[in-house]
Amino acid sequence: MLETLPPPPRNDHPNNDMWIDEQIWGHRLWDTTNPWLIFLELLGVAEAKERDRSLLDDGGTPYPLRFKPAQRMYIRNILYNNEPLLRIADEGLADSAAWEKWLAAMADRAQGVPVRDFSYLRKRFSSFPDFVALVSMLRGTTIENGSNKRWSSRFVFPFGRHALYEDLNVRNNSASREYINFGLPGELVYQMLCRSEQATELALEIAQMFDGDPCDQLLRMLEPDYEEDKSTRGNSYLPYASHETFDDLTRDWLALLRGPLPRFDTYPHLAALTCLHLLRYQLLVAAEYCFVSKPHFIVSVLCPPPSALHPDPFIGA
């Protein structure tokens, strides 16, 4: 039988009387999500920890995982709560008139920001059309996320730290944490990576995912110079101090990040592989609890030169 860490103190999860699934697999494997959302949730945690200088390093205390994720409300208002932008761009006003009109509209409409003032943007972009073109371009990279159209739950491609923020519900100008898109599996994955043998090596690679991309710099230019208020989050729980799937997951991440692909081209694969390992984790732990042997997936692999090599079609979970 697998040895688990002690359950968290009862008061940490007061509404959860039946602590059963959670003790077997953790809190929690949320199933109404998708690989990209898990990936984004995970990167959000990693970014917060990197800011704290404790990326993939729990200092010997596996529970609780506490972190302060970014909210980036200025960027999110510009990207996703900005219906007037294209309309004003189409009106063909003189540059300063267009800026004035848009700034007025945003002063009225922006939510969850301390000051509804976006005038800092004017001196950063040489013209309103340039600003519109770049914002549209960034919007084009939004991660597809099913039917959810709420602006505060839309996510831009993870170019760097300025593109990472938590899922929020904004009501009456105040934002609260939302679990619909980020339902904690990303936090579990973070802890898995953290507890794997090669965590230190992986931390160096992950740290490079946060800075340096031009689009990340562009996103930074969409924010005023200010320090945002961040709330502390963290009530996830991963019951094992180590597991073979944690190490396999890290190995796959390292292989991709150190491989020849351009960095962003690895992201879809990282997202998919992360889910594959989560699935393996779920199955292997379940098999262990039921005293059955390792389950198998049947995977058919295309091999480009026909008949040169036939990869083994059975992959052990």
């Binding site: 001196k123 950063r124 972009f125 040489s126 340039d130 073109a133 770049l134 371009m137 960034l138 084009g140 990279t141 491609f157 170019f159 031009p214 689009c215 710099q217 562009l218 230019m221 020849p260 692909l261 351009p262 962003f264 081209d265 992201y267 879809p268 480009p304 030169p305 026909p306 008949s307 040169a308 090599l309 036939h310």
Partner: protein, 614 residues
């Protein structure tokens, strides 16, 4: 009916797609040749000379030999040939023994050569020469790889998949890891490993066009046919109307052979390998196929009844070539027919060809084409039947109760025949290759493959169109640019459908160290040279060539082949990483984006948008 001609035809039938085809295995072929008392088929395998050289008296270094390839590539047969070449008596080479050994002078001195004709069939517990058990034998083989002057050398025949598998599983046998590495390097990368020595022959790497030419020549030239002519029976076997004779005569015509050979060459260029056994199966089916015969293959005795019932012409070589005589599931299960049917011959067409088929007999201008393309391809019986169907169709073109008009069904068969009737001179005019899925296949062979093989530069127009196709896929826009390669990326990775961020333009004509050109290789290869010595290459198989040409011609990249589309995007990704390595971006405080858009002429223009970071 037991003359040589008839026995020969019955012997060929054993190669065909029948439930128990005796001629599957080399061991059985020799037995059945004896039973029918005919000369077995014989031709020199293209690798035979190299193989003999590797085991000759004066070879510079004696080492073990691996013969690998897929089932039916001729491994066992080559083992047998080696046995006699080394001085073994033909009678001692028996089907029952998987391992046999012989002493011979190889590389200057006497050595023992052990021949394993099928590694997988070798029982674990057996005595092989001086070795007891398969592990001991494997160990001896491993030693022969790494001994600079081995006393024992081995010839090992094994299917490619099972070869590596055997070494992977032999964890307890000394030197197996090193042996595995050596064999993997030979098989996968086709190059020698860092240490160890082995002569490696991959029979699957032999072009199937070559195999087709050799087997066809051996079959067509066999004395059995002369005997068959001599034995011709009135209204029966090998009479004028006999379908087997008709098929044989078409098969031996240069026109048919060269077109068939082109199809095989295109299969090579599509990386589809066909072993000798399946080529023989195809030839047997072409000659003898008939949907009404037993096993769907004719025997000499079937000819007379078929002629009498007026059904003989259904055994038509042009249909048999595509397995039309077989049941649907049987055809699907045989790889060679699946490969050939991928060309879509019979289903693809042009208005011109269909006009000839429908109005040819009555239209003055089309009539000459009808005569050369259709009338010469079918037997008088088949033509009568076609003419009745056509007349009926022209009068009442409505569908029958059972579906489409029967004449429409017959068009497929007619187009197949026409594909082989159009000669090279007419191929441009009648757009021969439009009768296949690969409309650019003829151009690919004529203007790319053959010039490269002769070390001639490929016409610039072809290269421009390929570059245009690449540009449309790389940018996701309908650009007209064909003199430079537009390496564009999406913001979020290179695989985005629309890639608006221009990273680099690479000149097609040499400029500094940049250039784009086609070079020869196993497949024609498109080379993008970014800087001195830094090249990115794309193997152009037939599908990719067709894909790029169609995209250049206006097709949408996603509409032809998802796999090709992804391959080309991956190619772009490789170019991008090579660029990133060879021209690293300088750190600067300026933030700017080169955004690509199209002007009215479809030419790409890039706007630079700058952001003030200060």
């Amino acid at each position: 009916m037991n003359g040589l001609g008839s026995r020969w035809v019955r012997f060929i039938k054993q190669y065909g797609p029948i439930a128990r085809n005796d001629n599957m295995y080399d061991e059985q072929i020799r037995r059945s040749a004896r039973r029918y008392d005919v000369e077995p088929l014989d031709f020199v395998h293209p690798l035979e000379a190299d193989l003999f050289a590797a085991i000759s008296k004066d070879v510079a270094r004696a080492c073990s030999i691996i013969l690998t390839g897929t089932a039916g590539d001729g491994k066992s047969r080559l083992c047998g040939r080696l046995w006699t070449e080394l001085g073994g008596a033909a009678g001692e080479w028996t089907a029952n023994e998987i391992y046999q050994q012989i002493s011979a002078v190889v590389g200057g001195r006497a050595r023992t050569v052990g021949i394993i004709r099928d590694l997988t069939a070798l029982p674990t517990n057996g005595t092989y020469g001086a070795w007891v058990g398969k592990p001991a034998l494997l160990e001896a083989i491993n030693r022969s790889f790494f001994d600079p002057d081995p006393d024992f050398i081995f010839v090992i025949a094994a299917n490619d998949g099972q070869l590596l598998d055997t070494w992977r599983r032999a964890v307890d046998v000394p030197l197996s890891d090193e042996g595995y590495e050596l064999l993997e390097a030979c098989l996968v990368e086709g190059k020698p490993a860092s240490q160890g020595e082995v002569s490696f022959f991959n029979l699957s790497a032999v072009s199937c066009a070559t195999i087709l030419d050799l087997t066809l020549e051996a079959i067509v030239a066999h004395p059995g046919w002369t005997a068959a002519y001599a034995e011709a029976e009135v209204d029966g076997f090998f009479s004028d109307a006999c379908p087997i004779r008709r098929n044989y005569e078409i098969l031996s015509s240069p026109q048919f052979r060269s077109r068939l050979s082109q199809l095989f060459e295109l299969m090579d260029l599509n990386e589809l390998h066909t072993p000798i056994r399946r080529v023989l199966l195809l030839i047997a089916n072409m000659l003898l196929g008939h949907p009404l015969a037993k096993d769907r293959l004719m025997s000499p005795a079937d000819v007379r009844p078929l002629l009498r019932s007026g059904k003989a012409h259904a055994g038509d070589i042009f249909q048999n070539l595509f397995g039309a005589n077989l049941t649907h599931p049987r055809r699907e299960s045989l790889e060679i027919f699946e490969f050939l049917n991928r060309f879509g011959i019979g289903d693809e067409t042009t208005n011109r060809i269909d006009n000839i088929l429908v109005f040819g007999p009555s239209d003055e201008t089309l009539r000459p084409y009808y005569v050369t393309l259709v009338e010469s391809a079918f037997s008088p019986q088949a033509l009568d039947e076609l003419s009745a169907l056509r007349n009926d169709y022209l009068e009442r073109p409505d569908a029958t109760q059972d579906g489409e008009h029967l004449f429409l069904d017959s068009l497929q068969a007619q187009r197949r025949a026409i594909f082989f009737q159009i000669d090279e001179d007419q191929s441009e005019e009648l757009r021969l290759w439009d009768l296949t899925v690969f409309r650019h296949a003829g151009e690919f062979l004529r203007d790319v493959v053959i010039p490269l093989r002769q070390n001639v530069r490929v016409n610039r127009v072809i290269l421009s169109r390929l570059v245009n196709g690449l540009n449309r896929i790389f940018t996701g826009m309908l650009v007209t640019t064909d003199r430079e390669l537009l390496v564009a990326a999406g913001l979020s990775g290179s695989a985005a459908g629309l890639s608006q961020i221009l990273m680099e333009r690479i000149s097609v004509t040499p400029r500094r160290h940049e250039r784009i050109e086609l070079r020869s290789g196993t497949l024609p290869t498109l080379i993008v040279e970014i800087d001195s010595g830094i090249e990115v290459r794309l193997d152009l198989n037939l599908v990719r060539y067709e894909f790029l040409m169609r995209v250049a011609g206006g097709a949408l990249p996603g509409s032809f082949s998802k796999e090709c589309y992804e391959d080309i995007l991956a190619f772009k990704s490789t170019i991008l990483s090579a660029l990133a390595r060879s021209r690293p971006t300088q750190e600067s405080n300026d933030l700017s984006f080169r955004i690509l858009s199209l002007n009215r002429a479809g030419e790409p223009v890039d706007d630079v948008i700058e952001v003030n970071c200060a």
